[in-house]
Symmetry: C2
Subunit: 503 residues, 2 copies
């Protein structure tokens, strides 16, 4: 066979010569190394039952080793039932060869002691993230009433794929190259245009920093703003993964309570806080909208106490009643508010793109931090998103989803009133993608969650987002509604009720 | 116009009602707010010269404000030359309306003092990254002899686009959903298969962690392994952006010199180092391959001093002479070596995907850290890469590039010998994507770099990657060759020579 012919043959059907790396310098003799590597090749499925092996003469000459080395390895594997040979025919992979031991590292021919790395103390803080991470390999569709998920099935997949294709066909030189850490310039322009247009904000494209989402925005701000022992104030309850990032950067976190107008500004300290994180449009996780007077008071406090405000405009785009809200950013003095936006809830979470609006002084430090963190977001996604916005699809999708989600909220309320009124009491909200409902005084939280679990209904409580678990937070149940049909919500509520009655 | 008709009209041609956000609670009166926002809309180009504005009656009723408010705003904008009206016709955007002032934030009607955030002390360390970051908006193709870039023009763009399309068409449910922070499972399997096959390594898919590239791998390891004052050892010269990440995590960095066999193991401290970072396949930036005996000595030292080794297999795949090299990972006891790989140099840097092979004890902490950092890499890219590997394109591309790059290295050597022999002396290497050349003793580095700059030839020296600038590092010039044709290299070398003779 010529070298040319070999190269064009499908790789999976050839004997995987690349897999064999023998090293005379290693302790195990060459025949043991070969043996072990052939086992791996068979276990990996690269060679399957009945696939032929090269003759011992051929393999020995290709690998530049003695023929006896190959013969020894083949003999051992024959004994173990990995391969078999008939006279005059090549060795082939045997049917029903032994399965690998569970931990492949343990099959090492070297009897070495495993080195256990000493983990950093930070890993204790990191461990809190475990509660949010799903199973390693599964990716199930969302079940009612899991919250914080948009209805990605409504996303205009075809349009997005068309824009992708246009870029793939016509811009390959571009999408293979790097972009600036702050983002692909036309996307920064498109986001600035959107904020001016749709949110009435005063921003220049230079202030827009494209990130891998709000979570990375936290990390970049923690790196560029926080020195050890700096005080950062969060709402209580709060989006706790944000607090974790600032704690990892050395910040001391403090919490301020929420009432039905938003965070209680009167209880804020007079000075000493570096940063305050807030979700004024739709408080996370309670869904309360910060009142206009509270916003003014918050900004007055921030100016007086020299505190920077971090405005996470969580679900700001999803407002179903009343006037669209002015952002804190628009109301504040320049530089006082850093604004965080995300495309996860607006388009689909797998996109991994979000943005910040930062004051001029932060642009360069954030660019440096991003370059050291992971360089930049993938340019192709950035270009496709820029097209999606500039071609008008983004605002169109938003408008459509606003109508759909408003309907779904109404459906959820009806469903809870019809099916679960004995267990929970729910209040409508002006926006957002979920509601929080209060357990009736007769219902015990443990019993309720056991019933939900037994009925395979996905529910969590505000307690998951409270710095300290309180009896009250345990009784506030989060019901997501965005991606669920009327039927799915009704079935889930009925299943939960049946399950509760059985407990 | 019905609401339906309005929705289907192209957005850019409608008057952008979404842009108008008036707030009676704000200080500037409503007509000033409207005025200012109309200016912004015109400056953003959303309304262009001759585009009509709604009648004052219509706009007032839509915004639910007094008609006089709109009339006042229109009058002011007419005076300023932004809009104009003819009797009986609507107001239109005027030709040659005034340009925006440079800093849009300054045009605010509020006379507020700008708030300047106090940056963290870390931003001093971050600033070192500035030297590596290109211009904000430009994205020029690479010029000889800029290094550390693969020849992305040789990448099988069509194949990649086809795989993308297959996923876009058939897996939309999938690519819209999240994946595990450690990566899309089939990609983790594909990478493990590749490492077993092509690099002879003993790894299970669970040990593979997909990252946004080597730089993010550093960050994840710094977060999970480093406590303040932990000692991390780097090669000298070294890939300095790695050191910056560990310094940001609080590590104390130390350096060990390189000779022609790799890092000088004999000069390593007997104990006290937590981590040692090395590039054994092709030392960064010198290109030296660590000898087999030095590798053994390094691992013996690591075991004795209980130091974890970080093996960055930089350019390990690009070896043009001699046997493929066994990785340190393969030679070491389980858990002793963390292996870092990247797809940036193998496919294209804009992909933003890389991986680590970590010991079992690190899998969960790294997953937690990644979730808090930015959740996970985009699933679509991960799925396409898995297909690219599994369908055999990856190994095929690598084989092709290995041949091409070996030729290009030979061409670079000939070019330097023919055109620049009076200035530099160059030694071939067994692999990699660049060479380092020594300035002749008669050549002054400043004069050389001035000549290069004048000739628009992109060159840097080893000094850029040295913890302390030394006279020796200044004289070691880095010549990238991977993405450049024979003609481009020759022209650049000749231009440099002409420029040098003129200085």
């Amino acid at each position: 066979m010529t070298s040319k012919a070999r190269c064009s043959a499908p790789i999976k059907q050839r004997f995987p010569l690349e897999a064999i790396h023998l090293d005379p310098a290693l302790k195990p003799p060459l025949y043991r190394q070969l043996e072990e590597q052939l086992r791996q090749i068979i276990w990996q499925g690269t060679l399957k039952t009945n696939d032929p092996l090269p003759s011992s003469r051929n393999l020995a000459s290709t690998l530049n080793i003695a023929r006896n080395t190959v013969i020894s390895a083949y003999e051992q594997l024959t004994v173990e039932g990995f391969i078999q040979a008939r006279p005059g025919a090549p060795h082939r992979v045997a049917e029903g060869f032994p399965a690998p031991t569970l931990n492949k590292a343990k099959t090492s021919t070297k009897a070495a002691v495993e080195f256990i790395p000493k983990l950093s103390q930070r890993t204790n803080t990191l461990r809190q993230a475990s509660a949010f991470i799903g199973a390693q390999q599964s990716n199930p569709p969302p079940q009612p009433f899991r919250a914080h998920i948009p209805d990605y099935k409504e996303f205009p997949v075809k349009t997005w794929a068309q824009l992708y294709n246009r870029r793939l066909k016509h811009s390959s030189r571009f999408w293979q190259q790097a972009v600036h850490p702050c983002g692909y310039w036309p996307l920064r322009q498109a986001v600035a245009d959107y904020l001016v247009m749709a949110r009435g904000m005063r921003v220049a494209p230079e202030q827009i920093v494209i990130t891998a989402g709000v979570q990375q925005s936290f990390e970049l701000l923690a790196k560029t703003l926080i020195d050890p022992a700096d005080k950062v104030i969060f709402e209580n309850p709060a989006y706790t993964p944000a607090a974790m990032v600032f704690e990892l950067a050395g910040a001391k976190t403090a919490y301020v309570d929420i009432d039905n107008e938003g965070l209680k500004v009167a209880t804020l300290p007079a000075s000493g806080a570096k940063l305050l994180y807030t979700t004024p449009a739709s408080q996370f996780p309670l869904g309360i909208t910060q009142s206009q007077s509270r916003r003014k008071a918050l900004l007055a406090w921030a100016t007086k106490s020299s505190t920077l405000i971090l405005e996470d405009d969580y679900n700001g785009e999803y407002r179903y009643r009343g006037r669209p809200l002015t952002t804190l950013y628009s109301m504040a003095a320049p530089g006082q508010v850093i604004y965080l936006g995300s495309f996860s809830k607006l388009l689909f979470p797998a996109l991994r793109l979000g943005y910040m609006v930062v004051p001029a002084a932060l642009i360069e430090p954030v660019a440096n931090a991003r370059w050291l963190l992971d360089r930049h977001s993938p340019p192709l996604e950035q270009a496709v998103l820029a097209d999606f916005i500039n071609d008008g699809h983004f605002l169109k999708h938003l408008r459509r989803m606003r109508v759909l989600y408003a309907q779904r909220q109404a459906v959820l309320i009806t469903t809870l009133e019809n099916e679960l009124a004995e267990l929970v009491h729910v209040t409508p909200l002006d926006g957002g993608l979920h509601l929080t409902a209060e357990l009736r005084s007769t219902v015990k939280p443990e019993q309720f969650f056991t019933a939900a679990k037994n009925a395979s209904v996905a529910l969590s409580s505000v307690a998951q987002f409270s710095p300290q678990t309180t009896p009250q937070a345990d009784r506030q149940i989060i019901f997501g509604y965005a991606p669920y049909t009327e039927k799915a919500m009704k079935l889930a509520a009925q299943a939960l009720m049946r399950s509760y009655l059985k407990t």
